[in-house]
Amino acid sequence: MIPMIDWLIFAVLLLMVGAYGVLTAKNGIIVLMSIEIMLNSANISLVAFSAYSSELHGYNDLMGQVIALASITVAAAEVAVGLAILLVLYKRYGTIDVDKMNILRW
């Protein structure tokens, strides 16, 4: 069995990849995708904790898996909203480059 710590390291690496994407990407869709990656890293750590729960405190705790499922649902809805926003931005400015979206400044 893969040890618990490996899962967590994997989740952290995934989070870093996502964060790097969010901070550096110019394209709005790539930013959205990076956010999804970050969300999935969280899901992985949740499922891992759930799977190792009997080892950690003696009984099988399914809460982590339940929350992971709920998180995936929310992520789907969030992507729908995010894409809709990007669509509107494109219609209005003819671009989805986040570097151009700076009208909320001083």
Partner: protein, 666 residues
Amino acid sequence: MWIDGAWLIPVFPLIAFLIISLVPKKWLIYEGGGPYIIGLSTASFIISILVIIDVLNGHTLTGSASPSISWIVAGNVEIRFGIWVDQLTAVMLLVVSLVGTLVVIYSVGYMHAEGERKRRYYAEIALFISVMFGLVLASNYILLFIFWELVGLCSYLLIGFWKEKPSAASAAKRAFIVTRVGDIMLMSSLIILLQSVGSLDFVALFRNDSLATMSPEMATLAMVLLFGGAIGKSAQFPLHEWLPDAMEGPTTVSALIHAATMVKAGVYLVARSFPMLVQAPDSLAVIAVIGGITALIAASNALVMNDIKRVLAYSTISQLGYMMLALGAGGLIIVAFLHEGAHEGIGAGYSSGMFHLMNHAFFKALLFLAAGSVIHGIGTQDLRQMGGLGKVMKVTSITMLLGSLSIAGIPPFSGFWSKDEVLATTFHAYENAAAYNDVFLLLWIMGVATAFMTAFYMFRMWFMAFSGTQRSEGHVHESPRVMTWPLIILASLAVGSGFAMFIGSGFFSFMSESIASIGSNVVVEAVDPVEQLVEIFSSPLTYASLIVSVIGLLTAYMIYYKGKWSVANLSKGIAGRMQRLLANRYYISWFYDAFAYNIVYGMSLVADIFDRYVIDGAINGIAWLSRKTGEILRRGQTGYVQTYVAVILLGACLLILFLVLFGGGR
């Protein structure tokens, strides 16, 4: 018992005020709402009469019988809302309700041509009458002070009724500001009383030892400051100059202010505070001296005025001075005899002051309304343009003659009886008020001199207006009956109200009951009318004041009717210089103006600079600081979503780092 319904008296005119000022114009069918106030003030008059009958039968609402409800409670100070009805209140109710009602009836004729503005006029008159009722019914000094201020407000509004005239607007402001000087003194007195007695209820303050907790100096100061309020309100020297200027208002308003409301409030305050004043005798001497000086100065000013209303205004000030003189002298007589057992009628001074107030209310209302009738008929206030009006305005001239005879103190008109008693009281004080003997001899001489001048200027005015031939062009007409009937009613009162001295047990015995709490020997015994008459006419003092009055009258007759002595001759030399001094009102106004322009204006400039650079500087500095800070901090808001994300992640990392380093582990 009608006396329990005394609280209704101020409510009726208040309802009239609300109706006239709030109901839409189209529903006020007639004369801008005049009939409402006539009807409702007549209702107040009827209830006043019923209350007065109850008081005459010996029922009063004073002391613990005075009904009141708790109103404001703060710490251990409780302010109550209640009414206080005694003989003094009864006299004031009679004066205010009768004169007030007659004035509003007269107004229907006098204000007929005012159009839309009549509504404002009637609303303000209704409020004026209402708050004056409230003032005389109040059962503590806070309530009295509130109504006192409202009376001042109403007189401000009414003096400035023709607000488009700059002189009227400034006269209104002057009346308001000058009386405010007195009001501040009154307020400081009330604060001292509240501080040391702990209550401003009449019940607590009118006990015989109410001021015993204060040092005598403090008590005197409090009482002199209390009188300071009356100096402003009743136009006593040196704050008397606002009243002649107040002639800029409609004549009906002057009649109301001079006869029933406003200036009588000051005399009422002094009379009401008698149980306290006798505990600080020095303040009574101040009252008498100020009263005597005012009487003389104002009477001398009235000698040379050419505006019919200004003559009457100065005569009011002078008569108010008489009332104060009587109250001050009467109070000192009470102090002298209070602890010496039975002494006949030591409350007569107090009663004569109030007697003069009542008689003055009737003849002064009459004189003002008659003057208003003259102004209505000829269209000018200048005596030099009148003359010969007696032939056309018969009712006006005869009623005004009766009023003039009354104020001049010719028997048997009402002014004679009360003025005689005022002077007798002053002389009595000369004989008895130990520490102030010489002062009162001087005051008595001043009073007699005033009586001479009063007779002179009143008949100068009457002869200039009604005898001879008209000195200006223009058609003159007698006023309508709605104006002459109030004159006739007031004239019969001006002739007859003096006989109140002889009816039943007599006015003095009735009046002095209201200060019976000071000591039982202040109550004047009922005297047989014949005995009283003999007493009055066997005293040489009576003849002194009577003879000077007649001489004054005859002098006016010789100069202004017969033309024996030329007026032009009197304008030369020392007499002319005197005349200029009087016509310029002793330069008192000039002095106030100079004081205001130089000293007060200078102080205001300093305050202005302080305000502009220190207060405003601090406020503006704070604003500048926030703006600059904002300008620096706004640079952080780049508008790039990735900057924000980076900051959030950095924050999260720092948080985790903090937890790992200082979290303390599990």
